[in-house]
């Protein structure tokens, strides 16, 4: 059971704040005070209002919401124990859960999209099917029990050691209901869809509902697990990472979608950073309108002339991306960044390399689909010159020979890669020449800094020629972008 914190609600709130901080959400004392004021104003029996109120007082950006919700559910749980609603599991005559009847029930809910009932069913399913380590099969129907599970409302032959969402979902297998729900929706197994479009819309809708149901079950299992293991332990393992702290190389598809949303605004920042000139580096011609306006306060005598602000420069960007196997996970991110940058810069050249080097600017048109682009890049002749192992030195050399005039004094050059050059010559001279010619050169490296220079990595040597930044998460990319000169 979750221990009760001594000190009442304020202490509990502080405890919750501590958990948020451990999860990487910076909640200051000021926010804690706000949160307390919020709790004082709200009706504590309205759980959703308390949730929204605390979120309003404690969160500062939208990406933190998933973490907050997970922790809120642990610290302000819906109830203790089963907390069952009106939707009950169907039981067969021998006392076990009737899985077929249960699947019927679930199919009906999925068809109607009844979210509230689905949440109640998720709770019931975890309670009935998710227990690990107590007598299965009997479903806990009226067995004699020791003192341990006495506080449980229903069921409970002995206390389970944990609750498993995997086990519960495996018994129900909601994703196999898709075809059946779709058949229901089109009005019977024999009926036809009006059009492929109608079918596709329904299919996607039902699929969404199924995945949200799976999420409900997982959340519920986490809540029940927290009662056994303690919420601190549950918070450490079961709470999702904030989107901008997810490692590019290990992100799952949901996180990748989230990353894509984050990278787009970063590209815009990067564009404006690279475009900005150092402030007051040059004074333009006199701005007559503003000078006259200013002279009003000195009786029409232009004492302080105003100068026209220098026009923002039109930066040229050259991207040089490693697409070899060793950075396969990173290259997906690279492509996202490239695509986002493509929309921001009017003059951009994109080059990809393994041990050869090719220009692929034309592939990133405004309507490009990222999925296909990668395949097309690898199919380009010239990308692989020799054996398909990345060779930065040779790629840089070929870039210099093949496109000698691409990098000029107005160019910003961005290199993306892990600098693992398979013990071949890193060709520092060429990189040095490029760095001399370009306005800015920056290297984004997806490897943790501790691994730079180990094994075949030439990151340390390259890092002495051009500034190299560790860039494994969206947060780090944001840091790099905001740290770039000129401000």
């Amino acid at each position: 059971m979750t221990p009760v914190v001594h000190g009442g609600l304020p202490a509990h709130l502080v405890d919750f704040v501590g958990a948020l901080r451990r999860a990487g959400i910076a909640v200051g004392p000021g926010e804690s005070v706000d949160a307390a004021a919020v709790v004082a104003e709200l009706d504590l029996l309205q759980r959703e209002q308390v949730r929204e109120g605390l979120a309003a007082a404690m969160l500062r950006r939208s990406g933190q919401r998933a973490v907050f919700d997970a922790l809120f559910d642990l610290w302000f749980p819906l109830g203790q124990g089963a907390a069952l609603g009106e939707v009950a599991l169907p039981y067969a005559e021998d006392g076990s859960v009737d899985v077929e009847a249960l699947r019927d029930l679930l199919a009906g809910l999925l068809r109607d999209g009844d979210t509230a009932a689905m949440a109640e069913l998720a709770r019931a399913i975890v309670d009935g099917l998710g227990a690990v380590g107590r007598g299965q099969g009997q479903g806990g129907q009226g067995q004699g029990q020791g003192g341990g599970g006495g506080d449980r409302g229903q069921g409970g032959g002995g206390r389970p050691s944990t609750w498993s969402a995997y086990q519960a979902l495996n018994a129900v297998r909601p994703e196999t209901l898709l075809a059946r729900v779709l058949a229901d929706l089109r009005g019977g197994a024999d009926a036809d869809w009006d059009s492929p479009f109608a079918e596709e819309v329904s299919r996607r809708q039902v699929r969404d509902r199924i995945s949200s149901f799976r999420r409900m079950v997982t959340d519920e299992a986490r809540r029940r697990g927290a009662e056994i293991r303690g919420r601190e332990a549950a918070a450490r393992t079961g709470v999702p990472k904030q989107g901008d702290r997810v490692d590019f190389l290990t992100a799952n598809s949901e996180q990748l979608a989230d990353l894509r949303r984050r990278v787009a605004p970063l590209a815009r920042h990067l564009a404006s950073r690279l475009a900005a000139r150092r402030r007051r580096a040059r004074r333009g011609p006199i701005d007559l309108r503003r000078t006259l306006r200013r002279s009003m306060s000195t009786g029409g005598v232009p004492m302080r002339p105003a100068f026209r602000r220098p026009r923002p420069g039109r930066p040229e960007l050259v991207l040089f991306c490693d697409v070899s196997g060793s950075v396969a996970g990173f290259s997906h991110f690279t492509m996202m960044l490239v695509q986002a940058l493509r929309e921001q810069f009017s003059r951009i050249r994109i080059f990809c390399f393994v041990d050869g080097c090719v220009e692929v600017t034309d592939l990133f048109g405004p309507n490009a689909d990222l999925g296909g682009v990668m395949a097309e890049i690898t199919a380009r002749p010239g990308l692989i010159a020799f054996d398909g192992h990345s060779d930065y030195g040779s790629a840089l050399g070929r870039f210099r020979e093949g496109w000698p005039d691409v990098v000029g004094p107005r160019t910003s050059l961005l290199l993306l890669g892990d600098a693992r050059t398979n013990y071949r010559d890193p060709n520092l001279t060429v990189l040095g020449e490029l760095a001399d010619q370009a306005r800015h050169v920056h290297w984004l490296n997806p490897e943790p800094q501790a691994q730079w220079g180990t094994g075949d990595s030439a990151a340390r040597s390259y890092g002495q020629v051009v500034p190299m930044h560790e860039c494994r998460t969206a947060a780090q990319l944001a840091g790099v972008v905001s740290g770039l000169l000129p401000v």
Binding site: G28, G30, E31, D34, A37, V38, E41, L42, D43, Q46, E48, Q49, E52, G53, A55, A56, A57, L59, R60, R61, S62, R65, G113, T115, D194, S195, P196, F197, A198, E199, E200, V201, R204, Q205, D208, A257, R260, P265, R268, H269, R293, M296, S297, G299, G300, P366, N367, D369
Partner: protein, 296 residues
């Protein structure tokens, strides 16, 4: 010089409870989610500005208008843009008029002229000052805060922190009642931590299907209910596809209006195909949706 008002900022609350916010916003045609109602209630009770962030077209600006309508307050709007400065946000002296006054005052003593030239008559109040000086209930809307430069954020800090403005010639003007303040942002730029700390934060996202259906029906009352449900369903699916600009509530409403104007009461493939441009504003998005949803 002017007297400096030293009265503390008093606050009459606008709403009694979260449910009160719900009903009153609903009465003026804005259907709030629990999140919206709760934060609006708290912003009013705690006297803190409310920072609303979210994609375009989910009703951020509309919320300010609805709060003003529901409480019978006046709406003062400061539209931010790149390069907005104090003169546009706070106040400005009407220099031309001051010069005229000085030239017209031949023979007057210097003190008289000076006091007169810096009087009410020559001040051009801009939204922030207007909101602070109003005596009637006021809703102050700072729209698209992320478009403004960082310097303006500093200005907002002073104004929103204490609700007072310093005019050097007059002294400090304190609001005699705190305006209900709402800042909106599209998150194109991270606002500074200092500004965020002074605000309650609300991330306004796409509403759930049921709420969206009711919103569409409130906005387009003539729309048949079944059609509204179908619209919301398709828009929900479109949001699941990776698009450059996911359709927002305002697009759903526009779509409903379009169908109504065209006199269509069912959504078949042809209708969707020909009116998809209302919901998806990028050509690439429309192509992708057509391909993924097998519309061709």
């Amino acid at each position: 010089m002017r007297r400096v008002s030293t009265e503390p900022v008093s606050q009459k609350t606008l709403f009694d409870s979260v449910d009160d916010v719900m009903t009153r916003l609903t009465d003026v045609g804005y259907l709030p989610s629990t999140a919206v109602a709760t934060t609006v209630f708290l912003a009013d009770r705690l006297g803190k500005p409310l920072l609303v962030e979210g994609p375009a077209g989910v009703g951020k600006t509309e919320l300010a208008r609805a709060v003003a309508d529901a409480t019978g307050s006046g709406l003062v709007r400061l539209q931010c843009y790149e390069g907005i400065d104090e003169a546009r946000a706070l106040y400005e002296w009407n220099h031309a008029k001051q010069l005229l006054r000085i030239t017209a005052s031949q023979g007057e003593s210097w003190d008289d002229t000076r006091d007169d030239v810096f009087s009410e008559e020559f001040l051009l109040p801009r939204p922030l000052l207007t909101a602070i000086r109003r005596t009637d209930p006021t809703v102050l809307l700072v729209d698209e805060t992320d478009k403004a430069d960082v310097e303006v954020e500093g200005l907002l800090l002073e104004v929103l922190g204490d609700f007072q403005v310093t005019v050097p010639e007059w002294g400090t003007i304190t609001a005699n009642q705190r305006p209900f303040t709402l800042l909106t942002s599209n998150a194109t730029r991270e606002l500074s931590e200092a500004l965020k700390r002074r605000c309650l934060f609300l991330h306004l996202d796409f509403p759930d299907p049921d709420l969206e259906r009711r919103i569409v029906l409130t906005r387009v009352p003539q729309l048949p209910e079944a059609l509204a449900e179908e619209l919301v369903r398709i828009v929900g699916v479109l949001r699941g596809i990776q698009l450059r600009k996911a359709p927002s509530v305002s697009e759903t409403i526009d779509w409903g209006r379009t169908l109504l104007a065209l006199g269509l009461d069912t959504l078949d493939d042809d209708t969707v195909r020909s009116t998809l441009g209302v919901v998806l504003k990028h050509q690439a998005d429309a192509q992708k949706a057509v391909a993924e949803l097998r519309l061709n």
